[in-house]
Amino acid sequence: MSTLNGTQARVLPVWQGRVRMRVLSKGSGPNLVFFHGPWGLHWTPFLDALAEHFTVHAPEHPGTSPGANDDIYNLDGLWDLILCYEELLEQLGLEGAALVGHSFGAMVACEVAAAYPRRAGRLALIDPIGLWRDDAPVTNWMMLNAQDLPGHVFRDPASAAARAMFAEPQDEEARVAAQVGLTWAMGSTGKFIWPIPDKGLKKRIHRVKAPTLLIWGAEDRLVPPVYAEDFMRQIAGARVETVKDAGHAPHLEQPAVVAELVRSFLRA
């Protein structure tokens, strides 16, 4: 256990020790697991706001933890990944925790909740991927030129949140680390969704038993908000909250609003 940006960091080995998962934890209160999106884990004001009410555990997707980059090659597909997360939750001693996820991470949270319904007490999905509509295809962000990415993820690519995620530091080492980290995070998550992010969730989603809240940025340019209807239709009792003035990452563009939505849903 060590500290990192005010969080407790620990590395837990899963998958016969061949995948090392680092988990950042902070706060107190009921347990909440946060599954980050395709651009890596950033400890943001949104997570700090949640940590005021919950014990937040944020695992890093396999391959995205420092020094464990090649661990991603030890997973062959989504089934392996979901089993890893189940092993991780077991090691953390979490059953019935709140699962909160963003984008790719929301898909993973939903898959875990479908495969192991008792692991998920409540489920909050922020602009999740995982389903597919021919009339509203999900944009493949891995095909975008680097300079076009912020404008697709954020409503306002010039916002502080966008600049924080897609920073280009002046310092050479920091610049290399940021660029490599971002690309590797996209590659390590992309491994489970290429070339179309529909890997069968539609066959399993009915198994989700947890009360579910969907949160969608009204101006999501990657995953059109129309997908909220598909999730609501297939998860019993799910409801949706649309966040104004936000794109694919509403928890970063409107952190206070989204943190309050999540808090009040989990406290209900």
Binding site: N69, D70, I72, Y73, D76, M142, M143, L144, N145, A146, R175, V176, Q179, V180, T183, W184, A185, M186, G187, S188, G190, K191, W194, P195
Partner: protein, 442 residues
């Protein structure tokens, strides 16, 4: 050395404003707006005729390659083309160089091993088996292979291919990506233990290691010439030395764009617009597509981030004279081309297996034949002897064709494709008619 004619089979008539109107020549160019199947049939037949012309004109090999959803070169199945070439060159000492069928996009990949074995049988043992990784555009974007699995799939398929050609017993392949319970290839290649293998690369250090460890010919299929390839090829030769192998020049292949005319000035008149068409339209692809996330391993990614590929210029802003001056294209009189090829490519990069691209972009059929004809008469004979005096063996060439090519009777009559009459007529009226046999000794 061995000199082969390479062909991309491009769309030769893209609209003038193509690169402004469309985001990419690859993956997304709209077929219905840009192409006509009957006309494309003509391109395929021109391509075959041009390669057969090269075979008859004295080139050592003819090369085809695989690309998908792509106006800059669209032979989705190079083996269909190679099959025609193998059959039509049966009387010639010419290698059929497949550069080649792409393993990760063939499922199961033993399909490539089978088709190559067929080509080796049909050609009487004249196949060079190119086993490319395939570009990210082809493999990841068009064929849906996960970028992070691309290289792993390739390496597994490569090992499976080599074993499938050579195994005496039927075997089971319980791989990570491929599972086959009864591998028992029919047919097997004539060349034993297997046809010579060439692996194209683009400078990744892990491919250098792979090429040397597997004893294959490493080929750089470059569009930016020898000057910018120098550092990279030096890196390759360093790995060859470090791993204790001889610096046999036949371990290296290189592709060079070449345009020959009577004089340097005439070359500019004839070829400038085709060269510019090639670099401005045929290579019009969004940068991100060359390296989708996960395609490069972590180590290579760090190396690339630290030393971004230095591209001091944007090819879209260059004109013919820039391309020639910088060596992207070697163009000019026979003397100019001979001298630059020898200095910059053959000696400069230590290349024993040279490939030349003589049909460039929009270059029409007749002009392509002129270029090939002049190259074969005025350039090829003087280069062919290079490396001979050093006594290296070209282990990466079909054994029956390894001996120095003697000047032989290669009648320059073209085959009879559907438009054969028209083609023959054009050849006959070419300003560079085929010379009598002896002149080619040069």
């Amino acid at each position: 050395m061995k000199i082969s004619a390479f062909h991309l089979m491009p769309h030769r008539e893209l609209p003038q404003d193509f690169e402004k109107r469309y985001p990419s020549v690859w993956v997304t160019p709209p077929w219905w707006e840009l192409a006509d199947p009957a006309r494309v049939g003509q391109y395929y037949n021109w391509t075959l005729d041009e390669l057969l012309f090269a075979a008859r004109a004295g080139f050592d090999g003819v090369c085809t390659n695989e690309h998908h959803q792509n106006a800059y070169g669209f032979m989705p199945s190079p083996n269909l083309m190679g099959s025609v070439l193998a059959r039509a060159t049966q009387d010639l000492p010419v290698a059929v160089v497949q550069m080649g069928a792409t393993l990760p996009t063939s499922n199961p990949p033993i399909r490539v091993a089978e088709e190559y074995a067929m080509l080796d049988c049909i050609s009487g043992g004249r196949l060079v088996a190119g086993l490319p990784l395939g570009s990210p555009m082809d493999v990841n974007l068009c064929y849906g292979i996960t970028p992070m699995e691309h290289r792993e799939r390739y390496r597994e398929a490569f090992a499976l291919t080599m074993k499938a050609w050579q195994a005496r017993e039927i075997f089971a392949w319980n791989g990570r990506y491929y599972q086959l319970a009864n591998v028992n290839l029919w047919p097997r290649p004539i060349q034993q233990p297997h046809p010579p293998v060439w692996v194209p690369g683009s400078g990744s250090i892990s491919t250098f290691d792979f090429a040397v460890e597997n004893e294959v010919c490493y080929c750089f299929l470059s569009y930016s010439g020898a000057k910018s390839a120098k550092g990279m090829m030096n890196g390759y030769w360093d790995v060859v030395t470090k791993k204790g192998r001889e610096a046999n020049p036949y371990r290296a292949g290189f592709l060079q764009l070449v345009a020959v005319a009577d004089t340097d000035a005439r070359a500019e008149e004839l070829y400038a617009r085709h060269v510019e068409y090639f670099y401005h339209k045929c290579l019009h692809v969004p940068a991100a597509w060359f390296a989708p996330a996960g395609n490069q391993d972590y180590r290579s990614l760090q190396a690339t981030a630290r030393n971004p590929m230095r591209r001091p210029e944007n090819p879209k802003e260059l004109r013919y004279r820039d391309f020639v001056e910088k060596g992207y294209v070697i163009a000019g009189s026979p003397a100019t081309v001979r001298q630059r090829l020898e200095e910059e490519v053959v000696k400069g990069l230590r290349v024993g297996n040279l490939m030349v691209l003589l049909q460039i972009g929009s270059m029409p059929h007749e002009l392509t034949l002129q270029n090939m004809d002049l190259f074969s008469r005025e350039v090829l004979p003087s280069l062919r002897g290079f490396w001979e005096d050093e006594g290296w063996v070209n282990h990466w060439w079909p054994e029956k064709l390894r001996a120095r090519s003697e000047i032989q009777q290669r009648p320059l009559t073209l085959p009879s494709p559907p438009m054969g009459e028209r083609v023959r007529e054009k050849v006959a009226s070419s300003p560079h008619p085929s010379p009598p046999l002896g002149e080619r000794a040069g």
